[in-house]
């Protein structure tokens, strides 16, 4: 079986409210990816559209995009795993290519969340949980992750200050990312100032500053088979390992409340496929929809032992100069989280790092990069390892 590479990446700016329709939003990311790969729409054998359908007014958006982007008559279809839809799209593209069905696939992620109110959006995201047995209690994403934060704090003594340090790191790099929705500085002191918005409670123990913002955005990843990639690209980035897992929707069906089993399992698979371990990773993008999610990712990916994730952030090991730089593009906390576009944005950052084109946030001579992308509250987990 031949290797599979990423030969082009693109992303729209992530914004509070995109001044256009979904097809126009998707065009922004697509155009950048085609320019990056130096290809035309007709070169693409199939397209995979990734999003969370509860935000879409358009039924079956894949067909609309294929027409708008000049991708007819090639096949196109939709894939969904909530917030990890983009990584699931990458997994699908990999299998479409390694099976020999296609030699080039576009993975198109998008979400236009601004068309509905924040409370409505929380309610819709809450329905990504068990609607029969949980949503009826008035659940929402921050509260679920808050329950994991509580579990982690109780078991390991992780503190609110540790979580604040994660947001401060995100802000350090988010300020440099011109495509991020939140670029204002966030300081440690804001979390201890009751007058500051960042310290306001959302779902205990999580505060406003612990949560990422909704955003509108699109991303696009061009995936190609070995032969095609070598002929078209000077710097193909190879997909070295892929892992994916699922877990009980209802929290009552789970046993672990201090980490995500889907991330652990997906990471094990991805490391095994790549034939490497956590110490070999030079740069990572993890799914920091909430500060606690990044801290748990450190442990679930093996960058730290269970309970020791806090030491990494306290010692700044996940900063650019540290032993394992994480979320140097500002993460979801700074960029915003347009559900279906998020995975593609994470992949884009790691690809740019591996091509040494990441500008201000470039790490030195990276060989392997990792993307950790979670759907729901650890309902779906995807870990992808990319290499030069």
């Amino acid at each position: 079986m031949g290797k599979v590479a990423i030969i082009g990446v693109g992303q729209s700016a992530f914004v509070r409210s995109y001044p256009g329709s979904i097809r126009e939003l998707v065009f922004d990311g697509f155009k950048e990816a085609l320019g990056d790969a130096q290809i035309r729409a007709k070169d693409i054998g199939a397209s995979v559209v990734c999003s969370a359908p509860e935000y879409d007014k358009q039924r079956s958006p894949a067909g609309v995009f294929a027409e708008y982007l000049g991708l007819n008559p090639q096949p196109t279809f939709y894939v969904e795993t909530l917030c990890s839809s983009g990584s699931t799209g990458l997994r699908l593209a990999y299998s479409l290519i390694s099976s020999g069905l296609h030699d080039m696939v576009a993975v198109i992620g998008f979400q236009k969340m601004s068309e509905i109110s924040s409370a409505e959006s929380q309610e819709r995201m809450g329905r990504g949980a068990d609607i029969q047995w949980e949503s009826t209690f008035g659940t929402m994403m921050p509260a679920y992750y808050a329950m994991y934060a509580r579990g982690h704090m109780e078991k390991y003594g992780t503190s609110l200050e540790d979580l604040a340090l994660i947001r401060v790191k995100a802000s350090t790099y988010g300020q440099l990312n011109e495509k991020a929705v939140y670029r204002k500085p966030v300081t440690f002191d804001m979390f201890s100032d009751p007058e500051n918005r960042m310290s306001g409670p959302v779902a205990s123990p999580l505060r406003v500053g612990d949560c990422c913002a909704n955003a509108d955005g699109s991303s696009c990843i061009i995936v190609a088979g070995e032969e095609k990639a070598k002929s078209l690209s000077k710097k193909p980035v190879w997909i070295r390992g892929l892992g994916a897992a699922s877990e009980s929707v209802n929290l009552a069906g789970r046993n672990l409340f201090s980490g995500l089993t889907v991330a652990r399992k997906a990471a094990e698979q991805a490391y095994a496929m790549a034939g490497i371990g956590p110490k070999d990773i030079d740069v990572a993008e993890v799914h920091d929809c909430f500060t606690i999610a990044e801290l748990m990712a450190y442990e679930n990916l093996g960058f730290a032992e269970p309970g020791e994730g806090k030491e990494l952030i306290r010692n700044k090991e996940t900063y650019k100069e540290g032993s394992i730089p994480v979320n140097l593009d500002g993460g979801l906390l700074s960029k915003g989280h347009p559900i279906g576009a998020t995975g593609g944005s994470q992949i884009r950052t790691v690809v740019l790092q591996l091509r040494e084109e990441a500008g201000d946030i470039q790490v030195k001579n990276p060989e392997f990069g990792l993307v950790h992308n979670i759907g729901g509250v650890g309902l779906y987990g995807n870990v992808s390892i990319l290499g030069r």
Binding site: E123, G126, D130, W133, S135, T136, G138, R150, E154
Partner: protein, 144 residues
Amino acid sequence: MSSKREIDDRFNKFGRVSFTAITKVNDFVDHLEAGKITGTRCKDCGLYFFPPRADCHQCLTSNMEWFEVSGNGTLVTFSRLQYAPAGFEEDVPYYIAVVDFGDYKVFGRISKDVAENEICVGMAMKAAVDKLPNDRLSYVFQKA
């Protein structure tokens, strides 16, 4: 076209807002009405299920019996919500929680009768039926 089909939508009454009307475990609502919170247990393999389910994925059978959620459990984790999704705004602040009863766990709300400063991971709790306005039914966790 004479006979009108009877629709058993008892589950509509469950919780503050129900997103599901029809389920094969509709009796759960009748049990709440009678003051009991119930799960199901597979008669073939003995697995306990909460929330209750009609089918056992292990045996691929639907040979279930009801059991009552009783006795004390342990509070595993919780969160106090300061904001609520659409439809729940009037309830804030409220607590959601997971309580472990040994053979199964239960997801739900903590009763407003429990003093906030007493709520802590590891505390003993029991589940009780909660009668809501407009004939709606739910359950809450109380201090054991």
